[in-house]
């Protein structure tokens, strides 16, 4: 057990013992160390299954939409990037801030299970970060992989180690924010011809199986009833028939979360076909930044989003390409 994990479990125990906090939302051990699931813990005893390691990529914010309504106060452990989602949900009145006690916890990048698997690393018993590498202890011996190769895509362009909301934090090591250009791939796509871009997205999105994992995990996609599930909406659809995905589902989804997407990257993490869905959202984010000024959803718990505000001198839609094509 790492020092950080120990401290977090201690924190959870203290909170539960305090009486005011009725439950703690965290991660629960699975069969291995690489398959933790989000879970609530109501007793100190149950904390024996609590786990926090680099496979705990799941963003717990969205669970709070339901959990905060339960009786008593709920504590939640949020990684820095999760805190943006939480804040955005508070802004949209989906979570009552006063019902939740937020513990900000340290994160130094989470691992992508499939990338680890693809490297043939199995039988993992423990893992630890060592500089630019991750070292795995496996049943078959020690294996080292570079962080670049096994980290989740979103962690390769980390937003920073700051919690935008936290009642307290559990942080042992202050990692330096790694500055990287999260729009690099968007730019690369922008630089292609329309035909190439279409081919790229056609290739990616034709893999889509419409399992809705991206939608259901997304903290911004928290509608009580999604338009795609609602026969009254006129665009309801269940199947990935023909070219439906790229035409409607993913475009509408990206549009609906535009200005609200905090770029938490859960959509790409959960996609069973590993479609780089975050590149869709990032296009909106990049355009918003360049057209209407830098904006980070979830940074503030109040105020309007770029799509619910305007200035009189906004760019005209027909001229928008010169700005947004990144040329």
């Amino acid at each position: 057990m790492s020092e950080l994990e120990k401290r977090i479990i201690e924190k959870a125990a203290t909170l539960l013992a305090g009486g005011e906090i009725k439950r703690v939302v965290g991660w629960k051990k699975g069969e291995f160390i690489h398959d933790p699931s989000p879970a609530t813990f109501e007793t100190e005893e149950s904390l024996k299954d609590f786990i926090y390691n680099d496979f705990c990529g799941a963003n717990l914010s969205k669970y709070l939409i339901d959990i905060f309504k339960r009786e008593g106060k709920t504590a939640v452990f949020l990684k820095p990037c999760d805190s943006y989602s939480f804040n955005q949900l508070v802004k949209e009145h989906r979570i009552k801030r006063e019902n939740v006690y937020v513990v900000g916890i340290e994160c130094h990048g989470k691992l992508a299970n499939y990338k680890v698997e693809e490297k043939g690393i199995t039988g993992i018993t423990s893992e630890a970060h060592e500089g630019e590498n991750v070292v795995f202890d496996t049943l078959y011996g020690k294996v080292t992989a570079s962080r670049e190769e096994v980290l989740l895509d979103r962690c390769l362009t980390c937003k920073g180690k700051k919690h935008v909301v936290a009642d307290e934090t559990v942080i042992i090591n202050d990692y330096e924010d790694k500055v990287s250009d999260r729009f690099a791939m968007v730019r690369e796509l922008e630089a292609m011809t329309a035909e190439e871009r279409f081919a790229f997205w056609q290739g990616q999105l034709s893999k889509c199986i419409r399992c809705n994992a991206c939608r259901n995990v997304c903290p911004a996609c928290s509608c009580l009833k999604c338009v795609f599930d609602n026969p009254q909406s006129g665009i309801a659809a269940k199947a990935n028939d023909d070219t439906f995905e790229e035409q409607l589902f993913h475009v509408i989804r990206a549009f609906h979360v535009s200005g609200r997407c905090t770029d938490c990257g859960e959509c790409s993490r959960v996609c069973p076909q590993h479609i780089p869905l975050h590149l869709l959202n990032r296009k909106f984010i990049k355009d918003i930044d360049s057209l209407y000024g830098e904006y980070q959803a979830g940074e503030e718990a109040e105020g309007k989003t770029p799509l619910t505000s305007y200035t009189e001198s906004d760019t005209e839609p027909n001229n928008v390409f010169t700005v947004t094509e990144g040329k």
Binding site: K69, E92, H93, R94, K225, C226, S233, I235, V257, T308
Partner: protein, 663 residues
């Protein structure tokens, strides 16, 4: 299943010459849901309408489509016809076969095909139409006027004249506003007080008008016809009902060093004071920042001397809540702050004054009793230089980008009055442009130049500096292409005006929209210039844009006419094509309220049944149909599609799209 009737109009030969109307009517009969289809020469004629009415009755039509001219033309006509035989008027759709087909296409085949598509599109929509009923809301027959300047006074008088009660809420201790501070008015040069004070007195005496002076708006709820407004009556420390306005307190008050705001701080006043001789109400007020009794607890002289026993040092702010049917905003203006214009030396030289200060210096009731003396040494200035456009038309960020509109005229007025009264005075005016549109305005300005020999210099002042007691005004003379320096005794700055800052808060309370310069937006710049986009809120005077007294008064009267028109109704009909939120799908995320220009959306916590006998309280949007104007901005902002617009529902529009795409 709807029973739809289709009526194709020939419009004489207007449509029939290009569209095969008979074929359209015939082919449309085969459309599912269509039980009747006919063509006729003039559907909008008496006979045409009768045809429609008969068909509705005979076939029990549940919806009708008229293929005719633009719905902007005759939609209302056909709706009325339908309504007269019991079909809901919103079950009528118009396919525009004239403006969009016959008038722009020549080929008959092509035009007929397009006509068919447009009619089918209208059928697709009407299939999803639902009967809509105009809502009704009662009207409270009382108006509120915010601001007691000339705009507010005029509006209140006009409304009261029509027999409706009006409240004027004025934040100062007296009504009268800026106009009360002025000396003479252009272009007639009559005395401002002489024309204003009778109106102030009228207000006080009119039993329909209630003047709430020294009061501010605290909270506004409700909507057109039904506003509920909470008003804060600030503690005056003088009982209005008892004070007789005898002014003994003012002679006795030991605290005499207060700055007299009414005289633009050019004079001092006592802590207890009546702002000016003709104040309405003619009741004293104590400045709590200055009063010794209130600050230190020691004094109490005024109370001792007040024969009426009106002084009450324990007075607290009080609140009253009243209902109104309409609200007029007339909050007025103030000159801008000049700290960003230090090149004119306003802060450093007493003899550099703003135009409003000059008004007081020239006013018989002002600090110099009407004798023009310069503030520094109380001598008569021999050379006076006016600088125009100080802070107006300035996009550098220091001033205001707009033209303040009144400065050219009042500067001409000042120059003329000075030359008239003191012919030995030399008067120069630096100007960029002289703008004098208006009846008798240019003539007025020309008189200043031709008759009074005022020296107008086309150019701008670069700096004003003090040299041996003289104000050296250095500027350009563009016509002579030279730089000149005018040693002056008094410099007058035609300072830009801006909306009174408190208008921001008022706009927020009223959910009335405001522009980047803090001027309130009108509903339409040309056609609805006195109405705020927020229904039931009207705009008078400079709060809406720079304007002079005649314009202000006309706008105030226009407001009054609008208010009277509203209050004359017992009930308001509301447009039924408004947004509504499906509470079962609403996330309560507040995005829709963010884009609503009318403040029509509020949020309520509502209890919902879940399965198994459980309930849940959720925050959901609620649209006030009386306030909603039906633009639909909220419907697109709503990601779950909970928000929809009656008459233009998402399903209707999508079915139109589908029909069009069928080709």
């Amino acid at each position: 299943m709807q029973k739809i009737g289709v009526f194709i109009c020939w419009c004489g030969s207007n449509i029939a010459a290009t569209v095969d109307v008979v074929r359209v009517a015939e082919e449309i009969k085969r459309e599912p849901g269509v039980v009747y289809s006919a063509d006729y020469q003039y559907m909008c004629s008496e006979n045409g309408q009768q045809l429609i009415k008969n068909a509705i009755k005979e076939y029990g039509l549940t919806g009708i489509v008229i293929g005719s001219c633009s719905p902007r033309m005759h939609e209302a006509t056909f709706r009325k016809a339908a309504e007269s035989v019991g079909l809901n008027p919103y079950m009528v759709e118009v396919a525009n076969l004239r403006e969009q087909v016959s008038w722009i296409h020549k080929d008959k085949e092509e035009a007929t095909e397009k006509a068919l598509i447009l009619v089918r599109t209208a059928i697709a929509k009407v299939r999803l139409n639902a009967p809509l009923k105009e809502g009704e809301s009662p009207v409270v027959k009382r108006a509120l006027v915010i601001g007691g300047g000339i705009a507010g006074i005029q509006a209140a008088l006009d409304i009261a004249e029509a027999g409706y009660p009006v409240d004027i809420v004025e934040k100062n201790a007296t009504i009268g506003g800026r106009m009360a501070q002025l000396d003479k008015t252009f272009p007639t040069l009559d005395c401002s007080a002489c024309i204003l004070t009778p109106k102030m007195v009228d207000c006080a005496q009119n039993e329909k008008i209630d003047i709430l002076s020294y009061s501010e708006i605290e909270e506004v709820k409700g909507y057109v016809g039904n506003f509920s407004v909470k008003i804060r009556k600030k503690a005056r420390y003088v009982d209005e009902t008892k004070c007789t306005g005898c002014k003994i307190c003012m002679t006795k008050c030991p605290s005499k060093k207060g700055l007299d705001e009414f005289n633009m701080n050019l004079k001092t006043r006592t802590a207890i004071h009546i702002p000016f001789a003709q104040a309405i109400p003619n009741v004293a007020v104590i400045d709590p920042e200055q009063c010794l009794k209130l600050k230190t607890g020691k004094c109490g002289i005024c109370q001792k001397f007040c024969g009426a026993g009106a002084i009450d040092y324990t007075m607290k702010d009080s609140f009253i809540e009243r209902q109104y049917g309409a609200i007029v905003v007339a909050t007025g203006f103030k000159p801008i702050d000049l700290t960003a214009f230090n090149e004119y030396g306003y802060a450093d030289n007493k003899d550099v004054v703003t135009s409003l200060e000059l008004e007081r210096l020239m006013n018989a009731a002002g600090p110099t009793n009407g004798v023009l003396l310069r503030p520094s040494d109380m001598t008569h200035p021999k050379v006076i230089t006016f600088i125009q456009c100080v802070g107006s038309r300035d996009v550098s960020g220091c001033g205001k980008p707009y033209c303040s509109k009144i400065c050219c005229m009042y500067t001409a007025k000042h120059a003329m009055l000075i030359r008239e009264k003191y012919p030995d005075t030399e008067v120069h005016v630096f100007y960029i442009d002289v703008r004098t549109p208006g009846k008798n305005y240019d003539e007025f300005y020309r008189r200043a130049v031709e008759q009074y020999n005022v020296d107008y210099i086309k150019g701008m002042v670069g700096k004003v500096y003090n040299e041996n007691g003289k104000l050296m005004v250095q500027g350009s003379d563009l016509l002579n292409n030279e730089q000149i320096v005018i040693p002056s005794d008094l410099v007058v700055l035609a300072t830009a005006i801006e909306p009174e800052p408190s208008v921001r808060k008022i706009a927020t309370l009223l959910t009335a929209s405001i522009d980047t310069n803090n001027f309130l937006n009108e509903s339409h710049p040309k056609l609805r210039p006195v109405e705020s986009p927020t229904a039931g809120v009207y705009l008078a005077g400079v709060c809406q844009g720079p304007k002079d007294i005649p314009e202000t008064v006309s706008q105030a009267s226009a407001c009054a006419a609008k208010v009277i028109g509203l209050l004359a109704k017992d009930k308001l009909k509301t447009n039924p094509c408004v947004a509504s939120s499906n509470e079962m799908m609403c996330n309560g995320c507040s995005q829709c309220a963010n884009v609503c220009a009318y403040g029509a959306i509020t949020y309520v916590d509502k209890e919902f049944r879940l399965g198994g006998g459980k309930t849940e309280i959720r925050r959901v949007a609620s649209v006030n149909p009386a306030v909603c104007q039906g633009c639909g901005a909220c419907t697109v902002t709503c990601p779950s599609g909970a928000m929809d617009l009656s008459g233009f529902s998402s399903k209707q529009i999508m079915s139109e799209v589908e029909a069009i795409c069928k080709k």
